[in-house]
C-alpha cells in the first residue's frame, strides 16, 4: 500500500526535498524558457526556488494562472490560482502557449504521468483497453509537448511498481520512445528526450545511448534496494549510487520564507509503494 515517503528526519518533508532537488537541476536551464502545468505544486516551488538560488535568469511560465516569472511568497496549491501570477513580468495567452509548443520554442518543462516507462514515455490517458479502461486517467493536456520540448524533465509524486512500468499503456507524452535514436527518427525534430525523473525516493536519469532509466541518487531514508523493489521496470543501477544531498539550511530558509510561507509542501502527498 502506498505510504507517505519519509526522509527519516523531521527537518524537512519529502516534497520539500523534491522541490530542492528539482530547483538544483534547473541551474542547467538558467537563461532558458520553460514552464510547469496544472497540478504542479512541487515544480512551481522548484522553479521559484531556482530563481532565488541557482538560476536567477530563468524564464518560467506558471500554468493556469499564466504568469511569466511570478514572485509569490505563498506557494499556491494550484497553478491556476490567480495568486500564482502575483508579481509576474508578463502574461501568456493559452493559444500562444500552444503555438510555442507546436513550433518547439519551449526549452524545458516539467511533466508527470499516471505511468512513466523505462524510456521516459508518459501516460495520462489510462490503464487497460481504451474502450474499457480499468483506470481512466485525467487526460493528455500539455504532456503532448514532451515531444517538442527541447529538454523535458519528469516527476512523479508516487514511486510504485504500477507507476514506473516497463511500457506505458498509452503514450500521451513521448519520451525517448523505444530508446536509441527512435525519438529523433519518429518525431523528426532535433529535441532531446527526458533528462531527469524526480520521485519521492530517488532521482533518475537516462543512459547516454539506449536512453534507458538509470538510478542517479537515492533520497535520505531509502536505499537502492528500496528503489528496485518499488520500481516496475528494469533499472540501470550503477555499483555506487550516492545519496541525494539533503536540503541545506540556506535552501530551506529561502524555500520557507520566500517560496512557501504557508508550508504547503509540508503536507503534500509524496508516496512510495
Amino acid at each position: 500500500m502506498a505510504e507517505q515517503a519519509d526522509p527519516g528526519t523531521t527537518n524537512y518533508s519529502m516534497a520539500e526535498l523534491m522541490a530542492v532537488a528539482m530547483a538544483r537541476a534547473l541551474e542547467a536551464e538558467d537563461g532558458n524558457l520553460g514552464g510547469v502545468g496544472a497540478a504542479a505544486v512541487v515544480p512551481m516551488a522548484a522553479a521559484r526556488l531556482a530563481v532565488l538560488t541557482v538560476a536567477p535568469n530563468l524564464w518560467w511560465f506558471c500554468g493556469g494562472a499564466s504568469g511569466l516569472n511570478p514572485t509569490f511568497d505563498n506557494l499556491p496549491r494550484s497553478s491556476a490560482d490567480p495568486k500564482a501570477a502575483v508579481g509576474s513580468t508578463g502574461k501568456k495567452n493559452m493559444l500562444d502557449v500552444v503555438d510555442m509548443g507546436a513550433t518547439g520554442k519551449w526549452d524545458w518543462g516539467f511533466n508527470g504521468g499516471l505511468q512513466i516507462d523505462k524510456f521516459g514515455n508518459i501516460n495520462m490517458i489510462g490503464i487497460g483497453p481504451h474502450d474499457k479502461l480499468k483506470l481512466r486517467g485525467p487526460g493528455t493536456v500539455g504532456t503532448i509537448w514532451t515531444g517538442t520540448l527541447k529538454r523535458p524533465y519528469l516527476y512523479s509524486m508516487h514511486h510504485a511498481p504500477r507507476i514506473l512500468v516497463d511500457r506505458v499503456d498509452y503514450i500521451s507524452g513521448p519520451g525517448w520512445l523505444d530508446g536509441g535514436t527512435s525519438r529523433a527518427d519518429v518525431i523528426g525534430r532535433d529535441t532531446l528526450g527526458p533528462q531527469l525523473l524526480f520521485t519521492p525516493i530517488c532521482v533518475l536519469d537516462f543512459t547516454e545511448d539506449a536512453h534507458q532509466l538509470r538510478l542517479k541518487s537515492v533520497h535520505p531514508g531509502y536505499d537502492k534496494d528500496a528503489v528496485i523493489a518499488n520500481t516496475g521496470c528494469e533499472l540501470v543501477v550503477p555499483d555506487k549510487v550516492p545519496e541525494t544531498p539533503p536540503p541545506t539550511e540556506q535552501e530551506l530558509f529561502v524555500l520557507r520564507n520566500h517560496v512557501d510561507r504557508d508550508g504547503v509542501l509540508k503536507d503534500v502527498r509524496a508516496t512510495v509503494g
Binding site: 496544472a38 497540478a39 505544486v41 493556469g64 494562472a65 499564466s66 496549491r77 494550484s78 491556476a80 490560482d81 490567480p82 495568486k83 501570477a85 502574461k91 501568456k92 495567452n93 493559452m94 493559444l95 502557449v97 500552444v98 509548443g101 507546436a102 518547439g104 495520462m124 490517458i125 481504451h130 474502450d131 474499457k132 479502461l133 480499468k134 483506470l135 481512466r136 486517467g137 485525467p138 487526460g139 493528455t140 493536456v141 500539455g142 504532456t143 503532448i144 509537448w145 515531444g147 517538442t148 498509452y170 503514450i171 500521451s172 507524452g173 513521448p174 520512445l177 525519438r183 519518429v186 518525431i187 523528426g188 525534430r189 503534500v268 502527498r269
Partner: protein
C-alpha cells in the same frame, strides 16, 4: 448577435437557455472562474445529454454536470482535482462506459475552438506534434491529411463549435461588455465559437463604468446573448480579486461523490436550494466572507 442594449436575465431563465441546448462550452480554468451558478441552474432546469467542451483544464465545473447525469459526451483535455485526486464523477462514468470521452489534448481543444471561432473548417498542425503518441489512434477526430502546398503529411484538427458558451465574469454591464480578471484568455475564442453566449457576473456595472475602464473588457457585448448578475457565482471555484477557491467545499464534493453519496451533495447544494440565495445560505455567509481574505 448584437442584440438589444439590455441583456439581463434571471438565473432561472439562463438555466433554461442552457438546458435547451446540447453542446455546452465552459470557460474558467480548473478551479477558477467556473460558471458554477449557471451550471447549477442548468441542472435544475433539466439539462441532459450534453456534450461538454471544457477549457484545457477543468475540475468541479465539468465533474458536477457529469455527477448530475447531464452529460453524454466529454471532450477531454484535462480534468482533475489537483492535490485531492482524480475527478470522481468523470472517472466513475468513464470507467462504467456511460460517458463518451473524446481523447483530446491542448492543441485539439484550443485549435478546434480557434477554428470554430473563425469559421475555419479545420486547423492543420505539423506532424511532429502527434507522432510518437497514441492520440491519433485514440481520437478519430484527428485526421492525417496532405498539405496541398508542400505535400507533407499534417494532422487536421476539426472545428469544435458549441451551441452555448457560459462564462463567469468579474464585471459586466447590461449590454454584455464583460471583464475577466486573471486566467489565460481562453474566453474570447470560446465566446466566438458558440451560437449563444451567457455571462454570469460578480458585479453588474453601468455602461458608463465600462467606458471608464475599457482596457479591462475582454469580450465586447455584441457577442453576448444574456447577462446574469450572480455575486459568488463562481463558488466553490475562485473569482479573482473577489474570493479564493473554497478548498473545504471542493473536498466535501469530492468525498461525497467518491464515497457514493453524490445524491446527498446534489440534494443539498444543487437541486435542493430553490435559488442562488438559498445556495449561499446553505454554504453560509460567514464561510463566503472568509473566502474574501484569500482572494
Amino acid at each position: 448577435m448584437a442584440g438589444n442594449q439590455d441583456k439581463v436575465v434571471s438565473l432561472d431563465q439562463a438555466g433554461a437557455m442552457i438546458a435547451a441546448r446540447k453542446i455546452l462550452s465552459l470557460a474558467g480554468s480548473h478551479s477558477v472562474n467556473s460558471p458554477m451558478a449557471l451550471i447549477r441552474a442548468a441542472i435544475r432546469a433539466g439539462a441532459s445529454a450534453l456534450s461538454i467542451i471544457p477549457p484545457v483544464t477543468t475540475s468541479i465545473a465539468s465533474d458536477l454536470l457529469i455527477a448530475a447525469g447531464a452529460v453524454d459526451t466529454f471532450y477531454l483535455c484535462y480534468i482533475g482535482f489537483e492535490t485531492l485526486g482524480f475527478a470522481p464523477a468523470f472517472r466513475a462514468a468513464a470507467e462504467a462506459g456511460t460517458l463518451n470521452v473524446i481523447e483530446g489534448d491542448e492543441p485539439f481543444v484550443m485549435l478546434g475552438t480557434r477554428a470554430a471561432a473563425g469559421g475555419y473548417p479545420f486547423i492543420p498542425v505539423n506532424k511532429g506534434v502527434y507522432e510518437g503518441t497514441d492520440l491519433p489512434r485514440l481520437n478519430p477526430m484527428l485526421k492525417k491529411v496532405t498539405d496541398p502546398f508542400t505535400g507533407e503529411e499534417v494532422y487536421a484538427i476539426p472545428a469544435l463549435p458549441a451551441d452555448v458558451c457560459i462564462l463567469h465574469a468579474q464585471a459586466a454591464d447590461a449590454q454584455g461588455n464583460a471583464q475577466f480578471w486573471g486566467g489565460n484568455n481562453q474566453e474570447l475564442d470560446k465566446a466566438m465559437a458558440a451560437d449563444c453566449v451567457i455571462i454570469s457576473t460578480e458585479r453588474l456595472i453601468s455602461v458608463d463604468a465600462t467606458r471608464r475602464d475599457v482596457e479591462r473588457v475582454n469580450i465586447p457585448g455584441h457577442m453576448v446573448d444574456a447577462v446574469v448578475h450572480v455575486p459568488y457565482g463562481a463558488h466553490p471555484t475562485a473569482s479573482p480579486e473577489f474570493y479564493g477557491t473554497d478548498e473545504a467545499h471542493l473536498k466535501t464534493y469530492f468525498d461525497a461523490v467518491r464515497g457514493g453519496n453524490r445524491d446527498d451533495y446534489l440534494d443539498r447544494f444543487v437541486t435542493g436550494p430553490a435559488d442562488h440565495e438559498a445556495y449561499l445560505g446553505e454554504v453560509g455567509l460567514s464561510a463566503m466572507f472568509e473566502l474574501q481574505k484569500n482572494a
